[in-house]
Every structure is written in C-alpha cells, then in structure tokens.
Symmetry: C2
Subunit: 341 residues, 2 copies
C-alpha cells in the first residue's frame, strides 16, 4: 500500500507531499454522474457496492494518495431519528428541527451495526485491494447540531445561536447526545478497517473563538481522545483560520486549513511540530494550467515548514471543476514536492 | 456635536467607547418598516427626505454615537450603467453581468452630481442639526466587482475567480474602472459634508491572502490615499480576520474586525497603534440580557488595548433582532467603558 498519506499524518519523512481532495468522489466526475444517474443520493450512500465504486473513482482517475469513504455527514443524524431529504435546490432538509427539550429527548442512541450497517459494509468492500489508505469521517458535533436545529443549511444560524445564548443547558444536552453518536460511529468505522478519520466542522467558522471554546471544542476533544490511539485523526474547522490557536487544542494529529490564511502564517501560529492539510482555494481549478501550477507550488513549498503536510484544497472541489485541471493539480503536487525534497 | 466617534478614529482619548451598529438603520426597527412600507427599497435610497429620516432613527432610538448614510453599495453601480433590482427572496440582482471586454467597456464614468445627486442631497439634509458625526460609505472595488460579475450574490464566486485566474488583465481593467467610480463617489460625499467614510469589502474574505494582495488591496490603497487627508477612513474586510496583516496595508485609519477573531488577537496582530472597530457576533443579540452584557463587556475591555476602539457588531444587525436588545447593548457599552476608564 502507498502509505505516504499516513506517514505525513504521523510527521514521518515522505518522498513527496501526499494529496487528496475533499469531495474528490463527486459531481465534477462524469464517472460519478453515471453511477448517480441510476439512484438518488441517499441510496448511493446506502448501497455498499455503489458507494465503494465511487469512492475508488478518484484514486484511479486523479492518482490521489488517499481515498475517503463516500457518504454524507447527515447519515448518522437520520439514523438517530430525524427525517432527512436531499433537495436539488436547497440541499439537505431535516424535518422537525430540534428546538426544545422534547426534540433533544426524542433522539435515539446510535447502534452503528444495526442502524448504518451499509457504512461498515462499504468500508470492508473497499479494504479488499485498495492501494491507498482509506479515510473514514464524521461531521463534528457543532456542525451536526446546526443542521439539526436549523433543519438544513442556514444563512445566519439564528436558531442555533439563540439556543446557545438563551438555553445553553439545552444546547449542551444536545451536544452530549451528538458526541456519543459520533464516537460510536467513528469507532465502528475504525473497527471495520479505515486507516484514518477526519472530523469535518464545516460550520465552526460561524463561531467567535470564545464561543468555539464553550460550545464546540470540548466535544471534539472528547471524540479525539476516545478513538484508537495511533490511528491518524484529522480535524477540519472550516473558516476557523483566525482562531487556529483555539482549533489546535482539539488534540487531532492533523489540522485542516482553509484558503483564507497564508499557509506560512498557519504554520507559524501552530508551531513547527504541526501537521497540516490544505489549503488551495478550490476555485483555483477554474484558472489556466499555469496559474494552477504556480499556486499549487506555492502551497507545497510553504507546507514544507510543517512537520507533516498533506496537500488538499481549502474546501470541497466544486461540481463545475474541469476534471483535467484536478488531474493536473495532483500531478503538479507530486512533481514539485518530489523535486523540492 | 458628540465627537467621541471621531476622536476614537483619530486615536485620541475619549470618555467612553463610542458605538454604532452596521445596518443600524434597517428592518429590525418598526420605525424603519413604517417608512419602508410606503416605498420600495431603491426609492427609499433615492428620496433624500426619507433616506435622512431613516438615517436618524437609530441615533434617536439606540443613542449610538454616529449615523451612517442610508443607501446601498450598489447605488453607484447602477449609476454607471447596470440595471439593478432588489428581490425580496434573492437579494440584489444586476442584469447582464460583466463577463467580457464588452461588458467592461460599456461601464460609464460616474459623475456624482449628475448621476446620484440624491446622495449628496441626503447628506446635506442630515448635516442640518445632526448631533453625531455622519459616516459616508462605499463598497470596495473587489466586492462591487463580485456583484457585477456574478449578477448578484453568489455561493462560490466561480465567475469572479474564473476571470481573475484566466483573464487577469480584464479583471484588473474592471477594477480600475470601479476604483475611479468609488473615488469620485466618496469625494462627492466628503464635499457634501460627511465626517468620516467607511469602505465595505464584504466579500474580501472569499480571497486567499495572496489573491487579496493581487486583486483587491491595491485598489483600496488607491482609494484611501486619494481622499481628503485628516478625514477618518475605515476599511472593513469582512471574513478577513486570518489575513489582518495584509488588510492592515490598506492605509485606512481604522480597521473593521469581524467576530471570527478574538479582539485581543486582532490587536496583537495589528500592533498597539491600531484603531479598530467591532467585533461582537450580531447573533449575540438573540441571547438573554445577561449574555449580551457579559459578551459586550468582554469586547469593550479587550478593545482598550488598541489606540482607538469603536464598538460595533462584527457584521450587520439582523432583521429579526429585538430592538430592546440593541438598546441594551449600546447602554452597556457606554456604561462599562465609562467605568473602565
């Protein structure tokens, strides 16, 4: 197995900078579209043969150094009792949002083998013959809470913050339940064979640093410290680049970095022992090949100041992205980083 | 005149921390809704008597230390040749977005007295008897460019970045034209009597720091250096808290700070000579009075490490905000900061 990704997670020397791309199994790939045209999105997540097939596509097509389980962060939320639907226009919809004590009490405890067996089945299928490490993942409790409270995506997260600022005990009770769910969900993925996990805190960046500490961080810390020692854990607090000194306290081995900060500044804040993942603006892939090569090389070079660097975009690859540009990016990262070593 | 706000902008000693609130003349106020119910939004912007009336409302109701001209950042964009409409659901719509050389060439030069006389008329009306300083404003070139290229708000700004990364000369030509427009627009406001200006770069935060330097910052620098010396200039690069070391190069007297960074960290980055404005999360105003008072006091105390601090939210006040909570906020800031001195 190509273990460059895992070595970088551990801060060990590598021959080149490993790279994978958030949402690499996704709509920008015609091969994905073909599979997706046969079934709806949630069915794709829940059908191990198909989920495994699309998980593998970018490994073959882009030559990335890691695969990430194809699924959605809301899959376990549905499993503990909320009705979930994906709308083409509005994105995810969670019916009967959690806004009071009854809503919190109604949430069930997750039994992964019983409730989401397809996730572990997908992992087991993938581990037969996969040539790169497999990353499992979960949404972070705060991010999952926003979806559960708002009932989907939101502009200003008023309902979430109203609960935080006016009924903090209720909010923390919800977070406790979600945290337990995430821990058993990730443990089951690890037992099924994933080589690393990433915790996506996609909406951590709507919080001030002090609110992040009070309402989000401690739950991430609990998750990280509950999981198998030695297995690499990545935490990505999107739009949290101005509070990396707080994000760093998560206990994760690797921190995801978005494109809103210069990679050198991020590493300066985190210190030379940091292991980082990121951080090219996903929209760079709409530029010319020259622009892509130049900007990717800058990130590669800056990343070398960290103890470990996994190249990635600073957010998920966009559906409109030309596949050839994604391929060129992976190739550039491999070439430039091999030469620089 | 209560000149506490202007003193803080200049870094002079004040008896208390002055405060105003972004979008303080807006939908959360029943008095605003009453005026707005009679005319559409753009008519309100273009009718000096009404624009002046709503500009004054928060000064009377909240007791803030500055007024800000009621208008919209897209008013001058319409004036240089784009068709503008405000949709209740989608927000602003600019027809025929600028995507090519013809689109850029078609834009006219702004003649403020000819094209937007109502802005200067509103300022002149307001300056008769206003008891607090009046802030004029403009959108920053990059932010205006995103609206002009996307045709409105956007999720990922793919069209804007595609132009930046594949036709940079065209993008810079557009930015040159917008910059000239902003300069003459702000000069006309200053000639009409505003006491300070704020440049809103609401979408600067979608840029990486190096792209900010290349595609946004130099135009802001040109604007700031073109305006009347001595008149306080505020620059607010929203969601730019992880690149304050770049934002700082704008040359503005005061920098707006959003809530994604701890105010102490912001001041540490900028240095003790910095003058800052911000940075309470607007959603704090959905909390209990206790939470509002505690969180506002924290910002006030941290702000005292800067040479000047103007208290504000980290973004515009939201339409659903209870007016009483906004009043309580202003009172808390005045009381706590008077005692702390």
């Amino acid at each position: 197995m190509n273990d460059t990704f895992l070595k970088a997670c551990r801060g060990e020397k590598t021959d080149y900078t490993p790279v994978w791309i958030m949402r690499q199994a996704g709509r920008y790939l015609p091969e994905y579209q073909k599979v997706r045209s046969k079934v709806d999105f949630l069915t794709l997540c829940k059908t191990p043969e198909l989920a495994a097939e699309v998980t593998l596509q970018p490994v073959d097509i882009l030559k990335v150094d890691a695969a990430i389980l194809f699924s959605d962060i809301l899959v376990p939320v549905e499993a503990i009792g909320m009705k979930l639907e994906f709308s083409e226009s509005k994105g995810p919809i969670l019916y009967d949002p959690v806004r009071d004590s009854i809503g919190v009490s109604r949430l069930r405890t997750l039994d992964p083998e019983e409730d989401v067996p397809f996730v572990m089945d997908t992992i087991k299928l993938l581990k037969q013959g996969l040539k790169v490490p497999l990353i499992g993942f979960s949404g972070a409790p705060f991010t999952l809470a926003t979806y559960m409270i708002e009932g989907g995506s939101s502009r200003n997260y008023v309902n979430t913050k109203r609960m935080m600022y006016s009924e903090p005990e209720l909010f923390h009770r919800l977070m406790d339940k979600i945290t337990d769910c995430v821990i058993s969900y990730l443990k089951a993925q690890i037992d099924a064979g994933v080589d690393a996990v990433q915790v996506f805190d996609s909406w951590a960046g709507i919080l001030s640093p002090s609110d992040f500490d009070e309402f989000a961080l401690k739950y991430v810390q609990k998750i990280i410290s509950s999981l198998k020692p030695g297995l690499p854990k990545i935490y990505f607090a999107f739009n949290g680049s101005a509070m990396l000194n707080h994000v760093q306290k998560s206990g994760a081995d690797v921190l995801g970095i978005d494109w809103r900060i210069d990679m050198s500044d991020a590493i300066n804040t985190l210190g030379p022992d940091a292991k980082v993942q990121g951080n090219l603006d996903p929209c760079t892939l709409f530029g010319t090949k020259d622009v892509i090569a130049r900007k990717a090389a800058e990130v590669v070079k800056k990343g070398m100041a960290a103890k470990g660097h996994i190249f990635n975009l600073g957010h998920g690859i966009l559906p409109e992205t030309p596949v050839d540009n994604a391929k060129a990016l992976v190739q550039t990262v491999h070439e430039v980083s091999s030469k620089e070593r």
